[in-house]
Each structure stands twice: as C-alpha cells, then as structure tokens.
C-alpha cells in the first residue's frame, strides 16, 4: 500500500481524467466503508485514490419534477434525515439505512454500495425495484444507466476505465405508490443479508395493483428481478392469494449459495417470506397515500 496517491478533484471532468490516465490501480473514494476495509485486508493496493466528495454534482439530495437525485457522496444518514425523500421512497431509504452501524451510516453511500457489487448489498434491491438510474461519467461524457446494469457479479461492475457513478436518480411517484425493503440476517444488527427483498408497487384508486417490481438480493451472484412475482401482484388487490403467489414465485426464483450463514433450503424459503411481507408493507404504504 506504499506510494499511494490521493486526489480530491473539484469537478467531474478532473476526476474522469485522473481515473482514465492512471496506469496502475485506481479506486474511487466516497464513504470509504468498503474501500478502506479492502485496503486494510490487502485485497487491493490502489496506486491512486480519487476522492469524489468535493465534486458539487456528488453532493446533496435534489428534488426535481417529483423525483430525486441523490449524489454519489450522500451518506445513509443524510438520506434518513431527508423528510421528503423518506416519505416518497421509504423502502429505498430503509435499505440504505440498514448498511452497517451508526458510524458506518455517517459515511456509507448508496453509489458505493452499488459499485462495491456485493450480491448482498442492502440498498440495491429497493433501488432496482424503484426503477432508479444512475449517471455514469467517463472519458466519453455522461450516460444514464439503469442501476441493475452496474453490478455484473460479485465485486464486478460494468463501469469502464475512467468511469464513475456521479448520482442516482429516483423517478417521480404517481398517487398510491409504495415501496419496502426487508432483509434477513442471522443477528439483530450489524450483519450481512442472507436474503433481501425489495418491492415497489402502484395501486389505482380502487386499490388494484397496476405496476409492481419485486427484486431479491443475496440469493444469487447478482440481484434477481422476479417477473412472476410482479405478475402475481398486477391486477390484484394485494390480498392473501396474491401474496402467496408472490412468495411462491420468489422462492422459485431464488438461487442461493449454501454457507455457514444460511443453507440453500433456508434462504429459498425466506426469500418467499420476505418478498410477500415486503409486498404487503409496500401496499399498506401505497394505500395511505
């Protein structure tokens, strides 16, 4: 780790140039709650660390046209303190707030959680269910990318040389919309999900579901979007029969690993339980709006 350089550029273009021009290993630093741990563990030895927290576009939460733009430097704690964001997207916020301790919440970012590309990333299922996109800046300019296209496998992303995520955008909400995220961990707090489930849905005035997205985390190498679970919700009143179908579809879609933290059988079962419970919570939230 000797000889590492640190740069804190003030603009997106400077950051892209620094990252693209680096001949050795370059890493982006936002909250650092994964990067510094990986450096300490000797998993990576960056030649260059580019701190993006001084770039204006990565700061703050901006409401625009009913949606929100969340900068890549915004911590989980900042998200939880933002009343409008929490009211509009409680599931996205609760996913982000489940990451680590109070101390980690003061630093950890959703963009970092996304780009760390852990299959168990707590903020990602709800983001995908929400239809979130992110702004990727790189040597060829900026592009808007669906968040689910960023992680491609454990620890791997689709980001090219010199590219980094600048912000994450959540769309505007129609009436009667709700989302939720639940995870299962072997402990009460401070642990990594063995199953995560994010659900986002929209109801019409009569309470019938018109749109739904159900996304599982930690039961495959990347998140799993369960189309059959969404299909079971659309057209229903999100009643017991629909929730049972969601549960069955989620368990059928889960493809977990077996390890000391949870067996295949247990994770498969819990994927169904959490997906149906998250759908019920999302529907309750949608009905109250």
């Amino acid at each position: 780790m000797s000889g590492m350089r640190y740069e804190a550029p003030g603009s997106v273009d400077e950051a892209v140039t620094l990252l693209a021009d680096e001949k050795g290993v370059a890493r982006v630093l936002a909250g650092g709650t994964d990067l510094l741990v990986q450096m300490r563990a000797g998993m990576i030895s960056p030649d260059l660390v580019v701190d993006i927290k001084k770039i204006a576009e990565t700061k703050g939460i901006t409401a625009n046209g009913g949606g929100f733009s969340i900068g890549a430097s915004v911590s989980g704690a900042e998200m939880g303190e933002h009343a409008e964001l929490t009211a509009a997207w409680p599931g996205v916020v609760e996913g982000a707030e489940l990451i680590g301790s109070t101390q980690v919440q003061g630093r950890a970012t959703m963009a970092g959680n996304l780009c760390n590309a852990s299959p168990a990333a707590d903020s990602v299922p709800a983001l995908i269910a929400a239809g979130a996109t992110c702004t990727v800046a790189g040597p060829n300019g900026q592009r808007e990318v669906p968040v689910e296209d960023i992680p491609t496998g454990p620890g791997k992303t689709s980001l090219g040389n010199g590219e980094f995520v600048v912000d994450i955008k959540l769309p505007a909400r129609p009436a009667h919309a709700g989302d939720a995220y639940l995870r299962m961990i072997p402990r009460t707090e401070m642990d990594i999900a063995i199953v995560g489930a994010g659900v986002n849905l929209v109801l019409d005035d009569s309470g019938t579901c018109t749109e739904a997205c159900v996304v599982l985390g930690a039961v495959g190498p990347t998140t799993i979007t369960v189309a059959d679970a969404a299909a079971a919700l659309v057209g229903s009143k999100v009643d017991e029969a629909a929730l049972a179908a969601v549960s069955a579809a989620a368990s059928a879609a889960a493809s977990p690993i077996n390890d000391k933290r949870g067996t295949v059988e247990y994770r498969t079962k819990v994927a169904g339980v959490l997906a149906s419970r998250a759908a019920a919570i999302a529907a309750d939230r949608a009905r109250s709006k």
């Binding site: 640190y6 701190d51 301790s101 707090e189």
Partner: protein, 160 residues
Amino acid sequence: MAKQHITTTINGEEAEYLCEAQETLLDVLRDQVGLTGTKEGCSSGDCGACSVMLDGRLVCSCLVLGVEAEGKTVETIEGMADGEELHPLQQKFLEEAALQCGFCTPGVLVAAKALLDVNDDPTETEVRYWLAGNLCRCTGYDKIIRAVMDTAADLRGASA
C-alpha cells in the same frame, strides 16, 4: 510519495500534521497528533472503538483517511470533558461502573454523546441500535445502556 500537509481542527483547536495518503485518521490521531484516547480495535469499521466526530457526524476513524480531514473539524474523546470537569456521560459511566477494561469506552462515550446531542429522550431500543456498532466484550452492555439512559434523564431534568 511525499507526505501531505494537512490542516484541520481537532477539539476546537487548529492542528497540522504530515501524513501518507494511505494512513487512516485513526493512525494520524494516535501516532502524529498524540491523541491516544481513540482506540484501535478491529480497524475494519466493526467495533467502534475508534469512533470520532467528523464535521459533526459520528464515524469510525479507521475508515477515514487522514488526508480527508483537511479543512474539517474532528472531535475526539479528549475534547469531551470541560477541563477537569467530566462530561455527564463520563461521570455517569464512573458512578454506575459502566465499564470494565475500558478499551471500548472512549468510542462508546463519543457515540453516546452524538446520540444525546440529537435525541435527549431516547428509548432503550434506540440506544441499543445506535450503539450496535460499539462492541464491548466485558460489560454485557446492560450497564452501558443504563448509564446512557440515566444521563439522558439527568440532562432532561437539568434543562427542565
């Protein structure tokens, strides 16, 4: 790589140090600045022994680079007492024996103060979740939680 010169504010006073880019704020506080009250436990953000306030936000100093503190304010356990007068949390931890070996105590105190600064009437559940990132291998936590709750009650009584 030349060391970087960093100017920051630590416990209300301007401070300067030289550090390598990969050094953590924890290393800098202990080895360069000489503030050894902040403890190194796991160095991976799990135990909370290195808790400090960075620009008013509770963080693990092992997960912050020393160079990131440029132009920021850092508050450590050394800044908690007012001269010889202990902070009410420190006093209560002594009175109620909310520590044994004491290694986790600076981090616990910094974290607990951060909670009481934003919430003067936390529930036991709120205290337990807030302090979930501060590991203690001696007390079994009950005395810590009680001391924080009792301090909060005292502070509310004093300001009522």
